[in-house]
């Protein structure tokens, strides 16, 4: 028989898995080896929420203590969330093939390096996504362009960012061209999240999309040329669940770390490492440089440029980030910033 948690073979009669240490549930008869590559018989059970015995540490959903994965976000509940001494929580361990539920639909997250979100859409459910993340779909699933008000008129790597929508029933799967992690963010009613642009993978049809200017910029001057840089992007995506809960899927490069900032607490992060923040979290630029240098901002190209995040609320960062453009240039003007000289 096999361990429910990690899939390792367990010796008959053993109570714990030798590979991961989780308790083994004994079945009446061990199932025979599953036939390879055969689709499992499909009968999605309704999500039964028993007396809430525990809470998912990642998304806060109340869940039955007997199950192994949070049905809202797929986090493995029997694994201790890794939290660094400084307070960053790693994205919770997720069992390969973990299954999430939204509406009457399901999403399975498959793979380790470049995970795939494999959606099984119920007839009444839909998802929307940027068209370049589509990996495969059933021929029956219809794809249409979303009618959007101006907001999607933004550019992704010089190409128009087209938002497409898929309506159930059927299977459709998404992945991004980047080794990293897939971040399921269940949104509770009236919850919103600000996401740095281009990290969005897919969202359920109920999730509303809006965008704001970040208001974070600096200008560099070289001769007579002035260039404006947006270290966290010119725009930030805002996803909200109005009345019904929704599921938002993001993809970030490398590993993902989250922390909950108490009111007034600050943290400085690399601007391009930001993944998301609660709307209550404020942000602005922060410069650091040695005091021995000339007083002008422009003189020293080796300054540090930070993004200051101020609580209350959650913030998430990724360990792989793009190079910050213009950081070493002569900065002539900038949005509100603080400065520290050593």
């Amino acid at each position: 028989m096999f361990c429910e948690n990690c899939g390792a073979r367990v010796t008959d009669g053993g109570s714990f898995c030798a590979a991961c240490g989780s308790r083994v549930k004994h079945e009446a008869a061990a199932p025979p080896m599953p036939a390879p590559a055969m689709p499992a018989p499909h009968a999605p059970p309704a999500l039964v929420v028993h007396t809430a015995a525990t809470k998912c540490s990642w998304c806060g959903a109340a869940i039955d203590a007997a199950i192994a994965n949070c049905p809202r976000c797929g986090a493995a509940l029997n694994l201790h969330g890794a939290v660094t001494r400084s307070g960053w929580a790693e994205l919770p361990g997720r069992k390969d093939m973990a299954k999430l539920q939204f509406g009457n639909s399901f999403c399975q997250i498959e793979g380790k390096y470049v995970p795939v979100a494999d959606m099984n859409l119920a007839p009444e459910d839909s998802v929307y996504f940027a068209h370049h993340v589509l990996l495969w779909k059933d021929p029956e699933v219809n794809i249409t362009t979303m009618s959007l008000t101006g907001g999607w008129k933004r550019l992704l790597a010089g190409m128009p960012l087209i938002m497409t929508q898929a309506q159930g029933p059927g299977h459709i799967a998404f992945s991004k061209d980047d080794p990293g992690e897939l971040i399921p963010v269940p949104l509770q009613p009236r919850q919103s999240l600000d996401v740095r642009e281009h990290l969005f993978l897919a969202a359920t049809g109920h999730v509303q999309y809006d965008w704001n200017q970040t208001g974070i910029w600096f200008r560099t001057r070289s001769g007579n040329d002035t260039e404006t840089h947006y270290p966290v992007g010119m725009f930030m995506d805002r996803f909200s669940a109005p009345q019904t809960p929704g599921l938002l899927l993001l993809h970030a490069g490398g590993n993902v770390f989250v922390r909950d900032l108490p009111p007034g607490q600050n943290i400085l992060v690399k601007p391009t490492a930001l993944i998301f923040k609660d709307p209550a979290v404020q942000m602005h630029l922060h410069f650091e440089r040695p005091s021995s240098m000339f007083s002008s901002w422009g003189y020293w190209s080796n300054r540090y440029l930070w993004l200051r995040l101020i609580g209350p609320g959650r913030v998430a960062v990724q360990s792989v980030f793009e190079r910050l453009e213009g950081e070493g240039g002569n900065i002539s003007s900038f949005s509100y910033a603080t400065e520290q000289r050593w």
């Binding site: 073979r9 599953p34 055969m38 399975q108 995970p115 021929p139």
Partner: protein
């Protein structure tokens, strides 16, 4: 020992069948002798029927003919081949990682003399002959897909995705005409074709990201992003279809998807980095 499925006389017949390549293994084995798949871990099959390529444990050894292949590393795994005398393997020049100095190399003679170049070098298939060691890897995070080929098998593989192939297998490539102008800005797209002759052989691919395989029933179709296609049985047909996306607002962009129709296996990768022939 030339055949992984061969059972020596006098041994216990209690055997374990590898769920990835169907080879028989000793009951106590932890990894399949022929493809390296862990035997003590259950298959991961999604509800939609995609099966994850087995994650080969670091340092697993795979046996073919009188040679072995050790799989090293997990993020960008390297395949280190210890070639037995008389065994040879063929590969593309861009996947070579290191070799013993005295391993002889030759060029595989290809029929047709088609003009095909890759990364500024003429497209050539090199052959290394044992005894000696030679190792291969590719340029991005991914998984090794080990496909022992049995007589009668015919496999089509995305161009430049194969890492190495043992000499018993016949190699050719086909130009996909239909896809040409649509997908890759007018550049040709080739597909490598591997055909077994009389003897079994070993084919190792490198897929970007994670690799999934699905068995299509006769007539069953699946729409796949063309960049995600990794391999298929030659019995599976592949046709590109478009969907016009967008209103006049965006000027209209086409999205192309490959319709793959069974019967046979289809392998996909969850990330793609397209390298094309020139």
């Amino acid at each position: 020992m030339t055949d992984a499925t061969h059972i020596p006389a006098g041994e216990s017949l209690e055997r374990l069948q590898c769920q990835w390549c169907q080879s028989m293994n000793e009951k106590a084995a932890l990894a399949c002798r022929a493809c390296g798949a862990p035997l003590d871990i259950r298959n991961l099959v999604s509800e939609s029927g995609w099966r994850e390529a087995p994650r080969i444990r670091d340092m697993t050894e795979i046996h073919f003919s009188s040679s072995t292949c050790q799989v090293e590393g997990e993020i960008v795994p390297a395949a280190e081949i210890n070639l037995g005398p008389g065994d040879s393997i063929f590969f593309e020049h861009h996947v070579m990682l290191w070799k013993d100095e005295n391993v002889p190399m030759t060029i595989l003679q290809l029929a047709g003399g088609m003009k095909r170049a890759f990364a500024g070098m003429p497209f050539i298939i090199s052959v290394a002959t044992g005894p000696g060691r030679i190792a291969f890897s590719r340029d991005a995070t991914g998984e090794l897909v080990v496909l022992p080929l049995h007589p009668g098998m015919e496999l089509d593989v995305r161009e430049h995705a194969f890492l190495l192939c043992s000499h018993q297998i016949g190699y050719s490539f086909v130009r996909i005409k239909g896809l040409t102008n649509i997908l890759f800005g007018g550049q040709g797209m080739y597909m490598d074709r591997f055909i077994t002759t009389g003897a079994p052989g070993l084919l190792i691919l490198h897929g970007y990201g994670n690799v999934f395989e699905r068995q299509l029933r006769p007539g069953e179709s699946i729409m796949v992003e063309p960049g995600a296609f990794l391999y298929k049985d030659s019995s599976v047909t592949m046709q590109v279809e478009f969907q016009k996306l967008g209103t006049g607002f965006f000027g209209g962009t086409n999205m192309s998807l490959a319709r793959m129709t069974g019967p046979g296996r289809v392998g996909i990768q969850s990330m793609y980095v397209h390298h094309r022939s020139e």
